[in-house]
Symmetry: C2
Subunit: 303 residues, 2 copies
DNA sequence: GCTCGCCCCAAGGTCCGCTTATGCTCGAAG
DNA sequence: CTTCGAGCATAAGCGGACCTTGGGGCGAGC
């Protein structure tokens, strides 16, 4: 087995013409070079250098090795270069999966920061809801998944939470759920409302998990909400509320990027917080580009 | 510094999909693979593999390394293959320099044997006299030099002999010097003649060294030969003797391949022997093709 | 003739890598 | 649900490889 290190030494010997000069160039002692050449000749099975008095000459086998060494070492340094580029964030690709309302505000800011800091990296974005997005993460279809959870759920669905215990969970931000009523509603001007205050209203729910959570909270308040519509499209929710078809609770984040015409927000009591987190696999968290992107997502809180 | 051995292991891991399978394929234990991959990841500075439950997947850096590994390992095996071909005598080139009379008989037999045994090798032949041929050997212009010496010279030219003491001297054959007289000469029928018997004759001498040797031998016999012609072309010597222009002594070997028309040979007393040797450099004697050719030259004695 | 540079050789110490042994996790089968 | 097997990680132990230091021989140049 010929080692690349030996080829490097052989080339240095060939270029400089002596073991001592090669040793100086390589930063080691002359016997080290001598021994390496002996080892290389042994693994080659034939002499490679002929020591004729003053100068070092190559045998035919030595010439063949030096000829190949150029390409081999070039390939090796190219590989090192590419890996170093990825490790040094001058290259690298991150595939990010986000739930829809995260894409609109948080993700663009993080993407912009990432591009500004590391222009060589590429971040792609796909939208998907958990648990589909978590499945994609496990399947290797993405490196980072944005998800959210309701920490205050009283052990309602431990299975869903347990799905993440082997993942790296990076908190990104916490946003409050606020109530949403038509501007003609009796509570439109109220600063705060309790869930029970909306017990008799028709409700517009969000995605399946948000819907489950809504039901739990309302039941905690003593009633079961009548849900007339359910959609994970937040502008649609706002539109439905604005049309007077019901009331809803939405994360503050989801309201930021949408004009909420014809609706009013009210703070809800009790205050429910939704935690948005970035998920990744433990090994992927060590990948520089992934790590950097996780940092940008967490840093985008300022917006 | 990425090592080729690590790339080999990485590729095996990628192909087989597990450390254990790669270890079996590589003929080592699983912890060895595990440690090598850890070392490779450390020298790469970034994770290369993600262990996601059952299967092993590559990170982007891992993909880059595997992609480069193909070319690097291919170049490495190509280099090993070429060196092995040279070492295994399936390839290789030997440049042989011979003195003129050696070329005619001994060299062709050795060349034929070499080609028969190792068809992949190539032997080139150039004619030159020593000391020019020895100089070529030292300059790297050839691998083997055929030369001859007169062992019985009584310390006449120790310098010339000393020239070889750092070389590998491989005896090839010993041939006798025989007298050559015109067929009309008074000694033409004699079985044996002494040098003194030819004291008054005009002499035809050979190459400079042969000429010097002739003078020494004759002076040992009590006279100084009158040399009318000197040429290193043996057929020319024979022609001159045949034309009655003088007498000569020639190696038996030189007579074998020439029709000696009009001349007669006589054994000379004292019997002088010329030793034909193959010379090479100590390092070159280890080169398989050179070694093989040296053997064929020594084995060509049978002819 | 002397000195300097270069190479080889031998000995010592250090470090690396492999192996054995063990524990842990996960997935599949009963 | 439990058990079993496969696979990976880790620790200890050991053998070997590598490099360094020190000494010697040899050829070249002043």
């Amino acid at each position: 087995m010929i080692e690349a290190r030996h080829l490097r030494v052989l080339r240095a010997v060939h270029r400089t013409g002596s073991f001592s000069a090669a040793a100086r160039e390589l930063g080691c002692t002359q016997p080290a070079v001598s021994q390496q050449m002996k080892a290389l000749e042994q693994s080659a099975g034939t002499p490679l250098l002929i020591r004729t008095g003053r100068e070092m000459r190559l045998t035919q086998a030595g010439e063949a090795l030096v000829r190949h060494a150029t390409g081999i070492l070039a390939g090796l340094t190219a590989a090192e270069e590419e890996v170093a580029a990825i490790a040094g964030l001058r290259a690298g690709r991150v595939r990010l999966v986000s739930f829809p309302s995260g894409s609109s505000t948080l993700v663009p800011a993080a993407l912009a920061a990432m591009r500004a800091d590391h222009p060589g990296t590429r971040v792609s974005l796909v939208e998907a809801e958990p648990p589909r997005s978590v499945e994609m993460l496990r399947n290797g279809d993405c490196e980072i998944t944005l998800a959210f959870r309701y920490p205050e759920v009283r052990g309602a669905d431990p299975a869903a939470e347990a799905e993440w215990d082997d993942l790296v969970v990076r908190p990104v931000l916490v946003d409050r759920l606020v109530g949403l009523v038509p501007e003609t509603h009796r509570l439109a001007g109220a600063g705060t409302a309790g869930y029970a205050d909306l017990a008799g209203e028709p409700w517009i729910a969000g995605c399946p998990r948000c819907r489950r959570h809504l039901v739990e909270v309302c039941e905690g308040a003593g009633f079961t909400p009548r849900i007339d519509f359910a959609t994970d499209d937040y502008p649609a929710v706002i539109g439905l509320v604005g049309a007077g078809l019901g009331v809803a609770v939405l994360p503050e984040l989801a309201l930021e990027s949408v004009r909420h015409k014809g609706v009013r927000t009210v703070a809800m009591e009790p205050c429910v917080q939704r935690e948005v987190v970035a998920l990744t696999l433990p090994d992927l968290a060590q990948v520089p580009a992934v790590e950097a992107m996780l940092g940008r997502l967490a840093g985008a809180v300022g917006d």
